[in-house]
Each structure stands twice: as structure tokens, then as C-alpha cells.
Symmetry: C2
Subunit: 320 residues, 2 copies
């Protein structure tokens, strides 16, 4: 593995930073490991929302306006599926579908998830390494006031409305690192920095950290681990992080996210609107950088990527 930087990512928010990182780093210098807890089987197709979001973003194929899926996407399949009485609660674009259909056929034929991810990167001209967090099956399930729900049932079908009491990551305890990462580590590879993307800590990053092999390896690393806050000014930029924090009785703030990651974290990038938090976070021993972390276009994504990389470099040099 040639990568210098390893980013852990969920879907949409993480994908934006991943794109920024891919643009400011050299070819092959970035490896992104994506949450697979949201993966699910729908219409017998293997749907991998987070890895696909990161893939489309890094390949420059993402639809920035819609915020998910591919640019120039069409919906003829969905219209015909609806006509046939098929399930239409999860939208699958005509182009996007190719990835699911082709991948599902190859998985059934015995291919490993990380192998398929590498093939897709090669096909789409992605010079970076994109990986699922594991080649094993891990599924995020939520204990809610509407019962025990699969992630997509909670997040898409029920629009994240049920109150969450507890989250479990089924299969995480026995899951391994993805093949290419295991092999690289066995061959002595170490990243210069690990970045935690501004993804939902409980739904996107925790599934990765719930895998003992990941947590053990990250804890033993001799390199800075730097997060980017998904909470800006007391609000989540995307998704349901703020709602979850409130349901868990946590203060909705970047500081609470940093405390959630705890000792794992060496540095944290927070938004300029949260600058007031810097002093107490530094007092907790964290390196802190501030910037405008809202990412609307590639310039924004590059700025946040640089802030995270600069903070990591500074921490490597022993500063911040």
C-alpha cells in the first residue's frame, strides 16, 4: 500500500472530505476505509451506500446538488418497479444500479468485497485506495422506541424518526480488517496519519471502531489520529447526528463528539463558529485547528482536507 493517509469514512459527509483529500494528495496517497454497517440487501442486490458515495465522490461522478448518488442519474428503473408493485422506498438510479447488479453477481460468485472495491476504482480511474471497513458482514441495528430496526429501515424508510436507545453493530466482534489492509500491515505498512471524516460518529465511525481488529491496530499506531467535527454550531450538517446526541443525553457540540472519541483522538478540526471550544479541548490534550468546515464545493473540500492534513503534520512534528 502506497497510501500515506488513511481516512475512516461514512457516506455523504465523509465522501466530501474524501474528495477533498483525493484532490490535495498525490495519486495513491490516500486510502479510505468506509463503514459497511449501513450495507444491506435490497431486491437481492448488495447495496453499499457509504462506499459507493465515497467512490462516486472521489471519481467525480457524485451529484452535488441532490447530495447522494450519481450526477445525470435517471429513474426509469424505479418508475417501472413501482408499476410492477415492487418496493420503492429505497431509490436506485439507473446508472447506480449497474454497480449493485454487477457487484451482487460477483459477490455470489465468490469475490471479496475489498477485491470488488479495488476493481471498481480501477474501472473508474480512481488512483486512491477505497476499501470497505471489513470483508466480513457487519450490520448496524438500532434499538428504538419503534423496536429493533435495521439501519436502512430506520434511516430511509422511517426517516430516522424513531427515538434511538442503543445501537449495536452485529458481527463487528468477529470481523477482520479488509484483506488489502491486513496484507499491508503484515508487510509493515503504517500511515502517516489517520483521519476521522466528519461522518456520524455513532452510525458511521463507531461501526469501524467496534471491530476489535481496527481498534487494536489504531490504538497501537505511532501516528496522529485527527477528526473533523460533523457538528457545527450545535447542529449536524447532514443526517441525524444531532438528534442521536440529544437522545443519548449528550450536549450537541463538537466538544461532545471529541469526548466521544476520547483517547483515540490526537487532534480535532472544528468549525470557526465553534472557536470558543478550542481552549477547553486543548486543555484536554487535543491538537485543535479551526476552519470553515462546511463543504459545498471542491474548494471547500480542499480547504478542510488541508486543515486536517496540516494539523496531522503539526502533531507529527510534536506541535499543536
Amino acid at each position: 500500500m502506497k497510501a500515506r493517509i488513511l481516512a475512516l469514512s461514512g457516506g455523504v459527509g465523509g465522501a466530501k472530505l474524501a474528495r477533498g483529500l483525493a484532490r490535495v494528495l498525490g495519486a495513491g496517497e490516500l486510502c479510505v476505509a468506509c463503514n459497511t454497517g449501513d450495507d444491506f440487501t435490497h431486491l437481492d442486490l448488495a447495496i453499499w451506500p457509504d462506499l459507493d458515495s465515497v467512490t462516486y465522490a472521489v471519481a467525480g461522478l457524485a451529484d452535488d446538488e441532490r447530495g447522494w448518488g450519481r450526477r445525470g442519474e435517471t429513474w426509469q428503473f424505479m418508475a417501472a418497479l413501482r408499476e410492477l408493485g415492487g418496493p420503492d422506498w429505497f431509490r436506485l438510479g439507473d446508472q447506480d444500479l449497474a454497480l449493485h447488479v454487477w457487484r451482487s453477481a460477483r459477490l455470489r460468485a465468490g469475490a471479496r468485497p475489498s477485491e470488488l472495491a479495488a476493481d471498481v476504482c480501477a474501472r473508474l480511474g480512481i488512483a486512491q485506495t477505497l476499501l470497505p471497513m471489513t470483508d466480513d458482514t457487519v450490520r448496524t441495528r438500532l434499538h428504538t422506541d419503534a423496536g429493533l430496526l435495521d439501519f436502512q429501515d430506520y434511516f430511509v424508510a422511517r426517516r430516522a424518526q424513531p427515538r434511538v436507545e442503543r445501537i449495536e453493530y452485529v458481527g463487528a466482534a468477529t470481523a477482520g480488517l479488509p484483506g488489502p489492509l491486513s496484507q499491508a500491515i503484515a508487510a509493515g505498512w503504517q500511515p502517516e496519519a489517520v483521519l476521522l471524516c466528519p461522518s456520524n460518529p455513532w452510525l458511521s465511525i463507531d461501526p469501524i471502531l467496534a471491530i476489535p481488529a481496527w481498534r487494536d491496530w489504531l490504538s497501537g499506531l505511532d501516528c496522529p489520529i485527527v477528526g473533523v467535527s460533523p457538528i457545527v454550531g450545535g447542529q449536524a450538517l447532514k443526517g441525524c447526528a444531532a438528534k442521536l446526541m440529544a437522545e443519548f443525553g449528550l450536549e450537541v457540540s463538537a466538544a461532545a463528539v471529541a469526548r466521544h472519541y476520547g483517547a483515540l483522538l490526537d487532534g480535532f478540526v472544528i468549525d470557526r463558529v465553534d472557536q470558543a471550544l478550542a481552549t477547553s479541548l486543548r486543555a484536554d490534550g487535543l491538537g485543535i485547528a479551526t476552519c470553515d468546515t462546511v463543504m459545498r464545493g471542491d474548494t471547500d473540500r480542499e480547504r478542510v482536507a488541508c486543515a486536517a492534513l496540516d494539523l496531522a503534520a503539526e502533531l507529527r512534528r510534536g506541535g499543536a
Copy 2:
């Protein structure tokens, strides 16, 4: 079963007559049993070319200009599949794909083919009964000078170019009638006429006739069996029937098709250009009707449908 008329059909050519029959008969008066020997699994999807062609034709969704698939079809899935390096030798339209994906998921969940066919009819507002020839698996395989080939490999991937020596219908010997037909027969149902659509006799109708349960039931029927010739003026209107006949050492003519069906046939509709054949066919004991059998639009399809129905009615009355 309310149907008065049972048609046996392949794909494109048969679908045209099926549409004509559906238009001239009353709601529910037609049952079409479709060849499933061409069915295959592609990208882990259950593709049923003949039943789908008939379904789209009868529902008024068929693309008459292209000659197969759905009208207004788009190809975004195929473009994305190609980009990913997936197999692109078999074209799947974005709308068409919904049928394959939804059906495949339901088949894996245990649904019977004839059940799925009935559901699709209900969803698409088809008042007629469309059935697979069997709920069991039958596969047409061709012994050719390029080896033993699956149907779609021969027909689509190799464009029917290899020379065919022999055809087998794997699974036909043990296949049963489709569920709804079995039940109707058990309840005493009999059609007023059976029509053999102008489909390829060897590739579309013979797979049905290769099923002993079909042949036994058809032989015992007390109603006329009327074919429509797929050969007009010594040429096949569609597909490779003429090429196969030549390879089998047969004269390429409507008369040779009638001889191929042999004692099963009571009547035969031939094209006006083949009128010269009528006398000898009648001498063989067949009821003969002639009309312009080339079907370009619905008027043509209704004309051929009426010719076949009229001939059958005449034969029922003991004439022709």
C-alpha cells in the same frame, strides 16, 4: 380459467399474434403459454425473453420499431455496466430491468413462475392470461459446429451463426404444465382452439411440445389446433428459422413447417404469397386459410388473429 383460446408462443413473432388475438378477443378470452427454453440467468437475474416480449406486446408497451423490449426504453444501466467492465453482450433496458430484478428477488423468495406472470399481468392491466410453458426449468441447448451452446450464447452472443446439428430441451422430459393450466384442466377446462403462433418451430414451439405433459394433453384435445406459418415466400420473417431448416436439410417453406408439426396440426394459416401450397396441404388433410401474414402494426396483427380464429371456428364446425 375463462380463456377460450390457448396460444403457444415464442418471443417477437408470437408476441405480435398474441397482441392481435388480445385485441380481437374479449377480456380474459385468451391464454398464451410462452416458451421458457430461452430463459436464462444473466448477472444473477432471471431473464425470460419470450414471456416478457408477449407481456410487453399485449400490454401495449412493446417497442415496435426496435422489434423487442419496451417503448421509450433508456440504456443508462448498460452504459454504467460497460464502464464497470460488466458483460454487455445482452442488452438490458432501464425499464425492462425492473421486471428482471423484481422477479429474480421473488423467485429466490420461493414464488412460482406462473404466479409471477399472473402478478405482472395484474399490475400491467393485462386482462388475458399469460403463462410460462412450465413452472419447471427447461433449457434449450444447441449442438453446433462451435460446440454445445446455451440458447442465448448461440442466438445473441454468436448471432445464430454456428451451424446447428441438433437441439435439445434439457429438463423437458420431466417438466409439468404450469400451475394455473394444470388446475384449470383438472377442473375440466378445455380451450375452443389451440393456436401455434408464427414463432420458430424448433426454438420456440418445440420446447413446449417436448414436454410430455403438453404433448399428451394437446393430442387428447377435442378442439382444432391451428398454426400460423413463420415462413413466408421461403423466408423467415424474423430470426433464424430459415437458416435452421436449411441446416436440417429441409425445404424452407410453409409446407415443411406444417409437415414438421405433423398430425398435431388441424389447420394452418399461410401467407397469400404461398397460396400455391394450399392444394397439397389440403390434400394432407389440413384446413388452410391464406392472408397477408406480415404483421407491422395492430391492423395487421388483428387480421392474422382473425384469420387463425376464423379457421379454427370453421374447423370446429367441421369445415375447411
